[in-house]
Amino acid sequence: MKPSSTAFAFTQERIVIAITLALLVVFSLTLNSFLTAGNILALIQNVSILGILGVAMALAIIGRGIDLSIVATMAVSVAWVLQLSNNGVPIDLAILMGLGLALAIGLVNGFLVAYVEIPAIFATLAMGTVAYGFVRSLLLDDNLIYLKGASDTWFKWIGSGQVLGVPNAVLLFGLVALVAHAMLRVTVPGRFLYAMGDNPVAARSTGVPIRPLILLQYVTAAAIAFIAGVIAATSVDSVETRVARSNLVYDIILVVVIGGVGLSGGKGSIRNVIVGTLMIGVLVNGMTIMNVPYTLQNIIKSLILLAAIVVDSIVNPRDEQTSQQGDI
């Protein structure tokens, strides 16, 4: 039997927090423009879209799934909103239709995974391409859609406004994270999601409604992706749908995994996503101030991810000894 974990265990999450704090200290001492209220807010604002998408991805991953269609969902649904409003549809109706599109994509994802029983990685990979292709060819005029029709309404304020000096993007990241955290911790679907991610067979036998839960999981992820898309579109006044073809989805998985959410499901929480997001934010911000080239930034990011995973597997080994603790 293993001695109970000590008060302070070196989990991956804590390692990442330590690295983040170390980076903060180093950057504050070496870069004189780093530790200013403006820069810190800008730093968080820059990663808040990534963070919100990370929350959506975390929901999928905790339930032992993954949603690779998340960027496509975000891009095409919000691009359609802009297109509709540019064509004269009132903005609130356009938002509802765009949200409906996002939810529909999530619903198809969930249906494929839950009822057709296709592995999530294939179902969502295919669905991302299908959604992008269909919406781009049938509903959109161009790859790049500008925010014109609703540029002087409250809609524009969502991504560009601020409350008490704090950018809305940051506030919304906090709000989405808080709601998702509460949902996971204290609601029935949240507890079920952890149970399903931990052991789907046991969860099913115990009476957890697995299939409706998977539907809920992907629909919620799509809804959160839509929120992220709205913030992104209204802060830069446009949507570039080709982002669906970029490697943004890997960055999202990066912030989720680096904070300590286990890809095997059932492990981790929204807190891990926030930790991962902040760490990437600090790193990218510091490197940008230092004028580190974009390619090198990517290399450094991925090396840090590797390091975090390696350190975690050294301090928390999963070998025969630890997996069979009950049987010594």
Binding site: S4, Y194, I328
Partner: protein, 500 residues
Amino acid sequence: MSDNPVLIEMRGVTKHYGGVAAVEGVDFTLRKGEIHALLGENGAGKSTLTKLMAGVVQPSAGEILLEGVPASFTSPADAMRRGINMVYQENSLVPSMTVAQNIFLGDERFFNKLRPLYIAAQQFLQSLNFNVDPWASVAGLGVAKKQMVEIARAVRQNARVIVFDEPTASLTPEEKHHFFALVRRLKSDGVSVVFISHALEEALEISDRITILRDGKLVISDDRSKFDRERIVTAMVGRALSKDLYGDETKTRRKPGERMLSVQNLSMGKVVRNTSFTVYAGQVTGMFGLIGSGRTETAKIIAGIAKRNFLHGGETRLGDQSVRYRVPRQAVRDGIVYVTEDRKVEGFFDTMSIAENVGVGHIAAGFNKGQVVRTSEIVAIARGWSERLAIRSINADARVIELSGGNQQKVVIAKSLVQKPRIIIFDEPTRGVDVGAIAEIHQLIERLADDGLAVIVISSYLPEILSLSDRILVCQKGRVVEEFRTEDATEEKIMYAAVH
């Protein structure tokens, strides 16, 4: 036996995991060509001792002598080169490969021609008198045959010592006979065999010497002739309790209460064929059958767990109402729960604490009002069940994977009982559970029946069936073929019905 030369001698070996000693100062000798049984409760240190022997872990203190020369094995491969092989409970075969490929795995030539390989495998298997097709893929083999392949592999590597970790846990009685015959043949070839077991009869039947561990320390190590059941159990648990385990023929059997469940002509594919039986409230219905008799599958259909891949006909009546469940959730809501035989794979949630596990059961049964979970309420409920079932853990937040087999089983049972079932199905309730917990689980099962629940106990272990059940159903090839009142049943009668 005692004149045979000593092959392995362990002197005062100690192994610490973290701060806890798994084995402490144990002396152990293994002679050439002997069958040595290693007994003890879960957590007694049996597995660790054999792992030390096979080089899987290294001792923190003490020394291991191989033929009188101090030896330290740096890895299992190192120990294997010196002729010490271990056959694990979990198979270490590659399922997608054929039997022959598995036997020669890691030992192939660079240009691996298949034909000579199969011919060699065929000859080798024949020389061992194993009836296994070398062309068969391992995935399709039964447990016993898989074990034969593992043993063939070990023998081919010129093993002088073969360590079996619970070799008979998943074997049917007839497969067990084959296995014992094989072990005796190994012995006559001069191979030493160490085997870990929970079944005392086996140890008494087959071994030359018996070593018993308790709490990581050596209790006794002696020739088999010096032991009987009573003495082994006393040594294992440090107290005499065999009467409350399987004995006591004189207890009164419960009368059937109202009819809870009646199954008529239930069928699913080739596994369950046209089976019919009835289960009454307030008594324990034992269900015995060999592997492949469809016991587990029948239970899983009743509890809605079996997916409907094959059409299955027939009717299940709960009380007077005809029911047919598509998902376990509906069965759980109707008060039918199934406690699995394979708790690691389909029983508990291993990243969760005891309270969280029990909590999932509570919520899934629909006892949580509204959508917000009241954590404090669940912690209180879980604490109540932990006390009632005497679940022992280091602290309340310990994850279930860290508990011993018996305590894990109790968590799975608590997770089901919290759903307030009317019918509870235990599938092999004491498999991989230590002796102390077996008694507690048996008492619990009796208590549930006394409280008026309809209890079904599926077991391959006849003494367990006979001591627990008020009536006994015997399954064979997918259907219930015989029903006994326990007063009339004997091990022989039941076995006769199960195989004919």
